[in-house]
Symmetry: C2
């Protein structure tokens, strides 16, 4: 049995009693695959910047969704995308210069060694391919992930996503390690995490799998957001690479300037991943994702399997992705994530000092986690209460972590200091009520 709280259960609408109106219609259409938020789901009609507007006119400050990362409906992305789709949208069997322009702009931000890029439609497809590249490059099968990891929704990637499992456990070739927080590793997070990874490697060796890859989201989003101390991933990554395994940095969450300190999450840890996967914020909502790998590793995979992605790397995705890179630069969004993130972190720590139900505040840039508890123990019910109260005050926020008791702050990178202040005010009232 999985001991993890399934990530989709957090703050989810309970469909077991049915529903009427727009929600009833949704349930009839999506059935068991419906994933609506909130006890009373919200019907949305528009969004701009950090704000979403509901059908009843309510405006919500969006602290949940990191896909429209440069801001909902960003004009520069909308224009680039609309112009390209009216001109040419085709597949990668033809040369289209906008596609190579984009890949080169992306590569300019990546380690030189990872000079081949494969563009896909989703982070799931990117991680699915990354794992197979690691299997082909190492001739091994074992994969190490954190205990509450989430890396996507394909069959293969679900195997390495314990937080997606409602029943059962990951397969024999997957080893999990505790998320790198003080709860598991006390004050030596780097050393403790590295020892846990080396122990996992030994178990994979003992079972005959060997270690093909350590697959990590360097902000540990689904685990509950663990960012500090910067650099703690280094000894674990080194141990895996020394033993001939690959390090796959899953940048779907921390990538594209989110942590403020760096463009990619792995850079905060000073590691040199063998494969970098990316997704959600890459096209500000246009379905696109991808990976960067060493040419030799990609060639190892392509020697046995033909890989073609119909929509991957289409010119519209390239136009959207390139616009996102330009906006991040032009609007100095990495710097904004650093500055406004620091303001938020300070503000949250100030509030925490006066509230015993806030057990810890942590994170990097505009990706922060706030543990909520009761007498020091994680309190999922209270977390849901706070989420509901904040929704009533016009703030959208979700939960994460093994116990579902970590508030996950993940606003657009364009968040202003005024919006941050508004959030802090509403959060303080919600946690105090």
């Amino acid at each position: 049995m999985s001991t993890v709280r399934p990530i989709l259960d957090m703050n989810a609408f309970d469909a077991s009693n049915g529903a009427k109106g727009a929600v009833g219609r949704r349930l009839a259409n999506l059935g068991a695959a419906s994933v609506l938020f909130y006890r009373e789901p919200i019907q949305m009609v528009s969004a701009k910047g950090a704000w979403m507007t509901a059908a009843d006119g309510t405006r919500y400050l969006d602290f949940y969704n990191n896909v429209p990362s440069v801001g909902h409906s960003h004009a520069a992305v909308v224009e680039a995308l609309s112009a390209q789709i009216a001109t040419l949208n085709t597949n990668a069997r033809y040369v289209v210069s906008v596609v190579d322009d984009y890949i080169e702009a992306l590569k300019a931000r990546l380690p030189d060694a990872l000079s081949n890029v494969v563009l896909t439609c989703s982070g799931s497809e990117a991680n699915d391919l990354a794992l197979r590249i690691a299997f082909a490059a190492t001739g091994r099968r074992g994969v190490i992930v954190t205990r509450t990891a989430y890396h996507g929704n394909t069959a293969l990637v679900t195997d390495v996503s314990p937080s997606a499992l409602k029943r059962g456990a990951p397969p024999d070739w997957v080893e999990t390690v505790p998320a790198p927080g003080r709860e598991a590793y006390r004050d030596d997070i780097a050393g403790g995490f590295s020892r846990a990874v080396r122990d996992a490697m030994a178990r994979l060796d003992a079972r005959g799998h060997g270690t093909a890859a350590l697959l990590v989201d360097s902000i540990f989003s689904s685990d509950g957001i663990f960012a500090d101390p910067a650099g703690f991933l280094h000894p674990a990554a080194k141990a895996v690479q020394t033993a001939g395994g690959l390090v796959i940095a899953d940048e779907v969450q921390p990538g594209f300037a989110r942590t403020g300190a760096a463009f990619w999450g792995f850079q905060r840890h000073g590691i040199a991943p063998d494969i970098v996967t990316m997704g959600k914020p890459m096209g500000n909502g246009f379905p696109m994702a991808g990976l960067a790998a060493r040419p030799a590793h990609l060639a190892d995979f392509c020697a046995t399997t033909g890989y073609f992605n119909t929509f991957g790397g289409n010119p519209v995705a390239a136009a959207a992705g390139h616009a996102v890179l330009r906006v991040i630069e032009r609007e100095a969004l990495q710097r904004n994530a650093l500055d406004v993130g620091a303001l938020l972190l300070d503000g949250l720590r100030g509030i925490a000092a006066g509230h015993e139900r806030i057990t810890q505040v942590r994170g990097a840039g505009l990706f922060l986690g706030v543990d909520l508890g009761d007498a020091g123990a994680p309190d999922a019910a209270f977390t849901t209460q706070v989420i509901d109260r904040m929704r009533d005050q016009g703030v959208l926020i979700g939960a994460a972590g093994r116990y579902g008791a970590t508030l996950k702050l993940r606003p657009p990178l364009c968040l202003t200091t005024e919006e941050a202040a508004r959030f802090l005010d509403i959060f303080e009232r919600a946690v105090s009520a």
Copy 2:
């Protein structure tokens, strides 16, 4: 060892000697995952209707790409998509009416029993999920596909895509059957195919897997396009369903009016699939795909695994998809596929009567296959010659089938009679040269 000619090798650019300019740049960016067409790849800059325009000004009639199925850069789709992306693009955790409007329009074209829809980013993701639904619903693992099947690019779906394998064979839980052509089944295609499927079921039973699903593309695109006689799938589908297995109709290729005779390929065969998967033409190039299933089957899967698709079912995809459905109706594209497809088929048969190197012409609507041979034997080299000659005359076309010796005709559904006549003229010259 796989005896299949890998589908990606057909008409592919040979990168082994390197390249300069735009092609060299592409190779440096994509490496071994590059999939360029033609010995001298084409750089494209724009496209409209059935035509694509290259950087050197050459205009090409597109008989290859069925993604922009209602026509490249179709104004109604571009407008719907551009308007929605400027307004709201979010995920399925919120209710957005344009999403349910679209799903209901889609469901109106599907069998009533398949009343739950899951929207994904790619046909690969749809088939990956469909297989897992079949595993969960049946408690079995075995899957039957055709010998040169292609169902997508995830790890799981590659296992049931023999045509993607450059080395090795499908895993133990996959059984393949010959494609339903006369070569394998003579004049009793329905009976022969059904017997082959029943034999495969017996082998899966004997190995302890049982039959979870028969997964078929009802136009058998990668196998070489086998459409007739309409109805031949019925006995095989019935045998699988009678034994408690599921029939998954992969409509990524034949769906959305392509065959002219019906909106879905499976309808030509009078079968009642348990799951319908769809993709490529669904958004005319916007990355979107999905599946329709029985609520109970979907619930079986969701009971064990949380499934969420970040980009799947976003409002922009819904707007694009709904525009595609409206265009197919308003422009009577299903009727056009039937009429212009029949003209093409007649024309091809006329040409074949005078050319011994054309061994067979077949297909339905605007999805036709032309076998090319030498003294009756499949001739891949001649097929590549014809493809190159047609490119020189401004027509884009690809190959398919076990031997890479079947020309695959798959133009946009808006193809005019004049464009069909132009194609026939150029084809006749290419095959006669």
